[in-house]
């Protein structure tokens, strides 16, 4: 067998491909998530109407919709493993860290697909002013990375408990609030032509901190 680093990379890539393939075959997760996103979005739009001049409210609403979408969507990947009893298989072929990174990358991809549909729809339905694309996309990227990092870890924890659904939101929330705060502040700033430097730095720092800490912890997660 190859050495550690390249076999970890192989494992991560294999797991990512496997997740994509499973998702594609069942399509259960992504459809539900998209439906949820679009429903939330249309409810907001219907209730609030067009907000062309309120960049601050628009920023908040956008990230709340994304937050809800990720709470609904990102808990699935580990729950599926537990319910399908495939954890033993996974643990015998890859290290816990590789498993986690593979799932994390998948969650990131998943969020990306969600955002590809939700964000343009949001901008159009809410009558939002055109964003400064560079800053806007940077915030989306960093925020998504932070959301995915936290959600992957919490998902792994929750999958082993008995009351999975409701618990995921409650347990994730404290970890996701800093993301919400910074992302909203940054998005608001770019709509009022301000600088996103501080919020963006915070998002990056937070995403890295959560990722680093969780990588240290994954080895302990599935010890039995």
């Amino acid at each position: 067998m190859r050495d550690d680093a390249s076999s970890s990379a192989a494992a991560i890539w294999a797991i990512l491909r496997k997740e994509c393939r499973s998702e594609w075959r069942t399509r259960y997760g992504i459809s539900a998530a998209l439906l949820f996103s679009v429903t939330t979005l249309t409810s907001v739009s219907f209730a609030v109407g067009r907000l062309g001049d309120r960049g601050d409210i628009l920023a908040a609403l956008l990230w709340i919709v994304l937050l809800f979408a990720s709470l609904a969507a990102l808990s699935h990947s580990f729950v599926r493993e537990v319910e399908g009893h495939t954890l033993t298989l996974l643990r015998m072929v890859a290290s816990p860290t590789s498993i986690a990174l593979g799932k994390l990358l998948f969650n990131l991809l998943f969020l990306g697909v969600l955002e590809l549909v939700t964000v343009p729809l949001f901008l159009v339905l809410m009558g939002a002013p055109p964003p400064h694309w560079g800053a806007f996309l940077a915030l989306l990227g960093l925020g998504s990375a932070a959301l995915a990092a936290s959600s992957t870890l919490v998902g792994a924890l929750i999958a082993q408990t008995r009351s999975r659904g409701s618990l995921f939101a409650a347990v994730s929330l404290p970890l996701l609030l800093p993301v919400l705060a910074a992302a909203v502040a940054g998005t608001r700033a770019q709509w009022s032509d301000g600088s996103i430097a501080a919020p963006a730095r915070m998002l990056a720092a937070y995403a890295l901190a959560v990722l680093a800490m969780s990588l240290l912890l994954y080895d302990h997660l599935w010890e039995e």
Partner: protein, 221 residues
Amino acid sequence: MILRATLFLWVAATMVAAFVWAPEVPVLGPTTRVLYFHIPSAWITVLALGWSMVHSALYLRTRDLAHDDHAAASAELGLLFCIAATITGSLWARAMWGSYWNWDPRETSIFFLMLIYGAYLALRGSLDDPVRRARLAAIYSCVAFVAVPFLMFVVPRIYFSLHPDPIINARGKVDMDPRIRWMFLSMLLAFTALFFWMLSLRVRLGRFERKREARAVAHAN
């Protein structure tokens, strides 16, 4: 026994003195009194969280369930003091500025801490096996540790502050009447002692519960 009596007298004396002996701070008026309960409660909230997180990390390193006892007990007590701090803070805000809740940075921080405690205890509650519970709760505690500095310090910088910093700056110089300072420190010490006493009780209780379960199953076999 003597220590407990001393603690009781200390707390009682401090509480009385808070109303009778210490003067009022100019801006705050009669609401000064809240200082003595609100800030120590908040301090204990943070102390308890730190204690819990340290023991969580120690559990992961040593797998000694005694550390888990401490982590759990500390979290329960921390939540109690957190609720106390939130309520006293909210009442104070109402007296000072007319509204119970404003999402100013300090209020926001204490609320976030309450969320962390709640999430941690909810996670514990959903797990039955003591070893798995200890391990997963400890993992969550360690991740939450990362979130805390962001929630406590960075988020406040993002929002505008209503908190009266110049006078109630317990970390910096305290420009107040020496009697207030004494009262304040006295209460802080009293609360800390109270916390550790309650913690020791709760940890012992947790340990007894575990041993009783073990004995019960051994007898059944």
